[in-house]
Amino acid sequence: MSATKSTPILAMRGVNKSFGPHDVLHDINLEVRAGEVLCLLGDNGAGKSTVIRLLSGVHRPTSGTIELDGKPVGFDNPRAASDLGIATVHQFGGTFPLMTIGRSFFVGAEPTRRWGPFKVFDRKKANAIAVKAVRDFGITRIDDGDRLVGGLSGGERQSLAIARAVHFGARVLILDEPTAALGVKQASHVLRIVNEAKRRGLAVIFITHQVTHAMAVGDHFAVLIRGAVAADFRKGQKTREEITDLMAGGEAMAELEAMIEGYAASQDGHAPQVA
């Protein structure tokens, strides 16, 4: 047990990523252990989403390694990463709004039962498992597996997605801005679930730009600025104000603003295209 405590479940060692001539990440070193929440902080465009894409198997690092249980791994696709227990939950839960809770919970892994010569989808079992899984995380308002996912609140959808990941054996949870679109009450639901996941011994990477939310659950913090880890510290080592200042990055911020103005002027007022 003590060995697993000291070896991080998931780690990035000297990871660089560039797209064509553009360096997006330089020399990233991060690690997360079981039962620990790593908060990845940073402003928009700091490289948070690229880190997620590397860890969840969407992209591969240009150089450097990703280690799972101390051994280097390479993910060919998101499926490979999730097979190894790395689950990514996106901002809106990544679930299917017009499907029922039971059905969407088991997409791709449907429970079946025999019915004569056929294997049929076991709706009762699917609903029961899905509802129980969410309720175990403390979301007691969900009691009917036939409800449509789209009818849940944002916090409930996040909770459903997290419960789903845990049910399917996730060891590392990557939460991409789970609280960004939520109100205060809904966000506290999600934070409670993050704590619950931590209590169950999962490693959680919590990506956010809301310092308050990070401080509520984080054990370990890393601040990304323009593709590099600008600070790496543990709980209690820095105050909220210090972190906020770090994230905004003083001089860097002013430089960025000048850049944006320059770009806007050269593009005749058009915002850059979202690729």
Binding site: F19, G20, P21, P272, Q273, A275
Partner: protein
């Protein structure tokens, strides 16, 4: 990146490059196999006449597709307008300008309803315009039988009106070709020179962002549908005046033909990209294949195979072009 490669890349990335190449190859093919007649005036007139009719409808349909919308109802508006003209000025013998105004008004009204339904509901435009297509078809049929008692209505246009809308130069080149040219110029101005055109592109790129940027998206959508209704009605007017009669069951071929012209012309159905030049080139290519096949010794039905193949080639190359364009812009950013 060197200058020459940059210039070449810019040309290759233009949406109409593919359609232009397609047109050249198509023309060369039919010039080779279509015999002497195809490259002389009668040959040109045959495909120009065909191109003009479908081209007038293809222009606004193309604008709609750039904005990410479809209009199926043009197929019903065309005969509705023809019959309105024929009923007002033929059956009731009222002055022809009144009939023409009535026909065009029908087009604008259907377009207005389409636009209103598309902007006020969340129903996809394909479904809405299928609904209005059936609705207008039913109204046209029902009212025509009710008023005129038959499905075909005749009209004898006066000489002036006939020469404006329905004459043919040298008995070959129909006057509708000049109207098409006028439509092309007007739509070119609207799409590429006026700020309104920019709004159309923005609408197809991202409707929400466009609205947030202060573009009156609902108004632009309604205007686009009114334009396509008007264009279809206009073709209906020229047809009834050219042929002296209006039939209930005309126009359904325009639905898919106009979409095909637009797609061969390099407009993506997914919206946000395209050009008037491309649509015109696509229309000409479509018409050359459709008419040119009669000049060859091939079975005329092979024309439709060629058009299907052209369409698929066009979309596949567009797909390639788009990827090229996107990759270039991400490198720049």
């Amino acid at each position: 990146m060197t200058d020459s490669r940059g210039a070449f890349g810019r040309v290759a990335r233009r949406p109409e490059t593919g359609s232009f190449l397609g047109l050249i190859i198509t023309y060369a093919f039919f010039a080779l196999f279509g015999g002497q007649v195809f490259i002389t005036a009668p040959g040109w007139s045959s495909w120009l006449n065909a191109a003009a009719e479908v081209g007038i409808v293809a222009l606004p349909v193309g604008l709609l597709m750039i904005a990410g919308l479809l209009d199926i109802s043009v197929g019903a508006v065309l005969p509705a307008s023809s019959l309105t003209v024929a009923i007002i000025s033929g059956h009731y013998d009222l002055p022809l300008p009144l009939g023409i105004a009535g026909g065009l008004a029908i087009g604008l009204a259907v377009g207005w309803i389409n636009g209103l339904l598309v902007t006020r509901t969340t129903i996809p435009s394909l479904i809405i315009t299928i609904g209005t297509m059936f609705g207008v078809m039913g109204l046209t049929l029902g009212l025509t039988i009710l008023i005129a008692g038959s499905t075909g209505v005749f009209i004898v246009p006066d000489v002036v009106t006939k020469s404006i809308f329905g004459s043919a130069i040298n008995n070959m080149f129909q006057v509708v070709i000049f109207w098409w040219a006028g439509f092309v110029a007007a739509v070119f101005f609207l799409l590429h020179l006026s700020p309104w055109g920019n709004w159309v592109f923005a609408l197809g790129g991202d409707r929400d962002s466009a609205r947030n940027a202060g573009i009156p998206t609902d108004r632009v959508t309604i205007q686009l549908y009114m334009l396509s209704g008007f264009a279809a009605a206009f073709v209906g007017v020229t047809q009834v005046i050219t042929f002296g009669s209006a039939q209930v069951a005309a126009g359904s071929s325009f639905i898919f033909n106009s979409i095909m012209c637009v797609v061969i012309g390099g407009v993506l159905l997914t919206g946000g990209a395209g050009s008037v030049v491309g649509i015109v080139l696509g229309t000409i290519t479509f018409a050359i294949v459709n008419q040119g096949i009669f000049f060859t010794r091939l079975d005329p039905n092979i024309g439709s195979i060629i058009i299907g193949a052209l369409l698929l080639i066009a979309v596949l190359t567009n797909d390639g072009f788009r990827k090229l364009a996107l990759s270039a812009s991400t490198k720049k950013a």
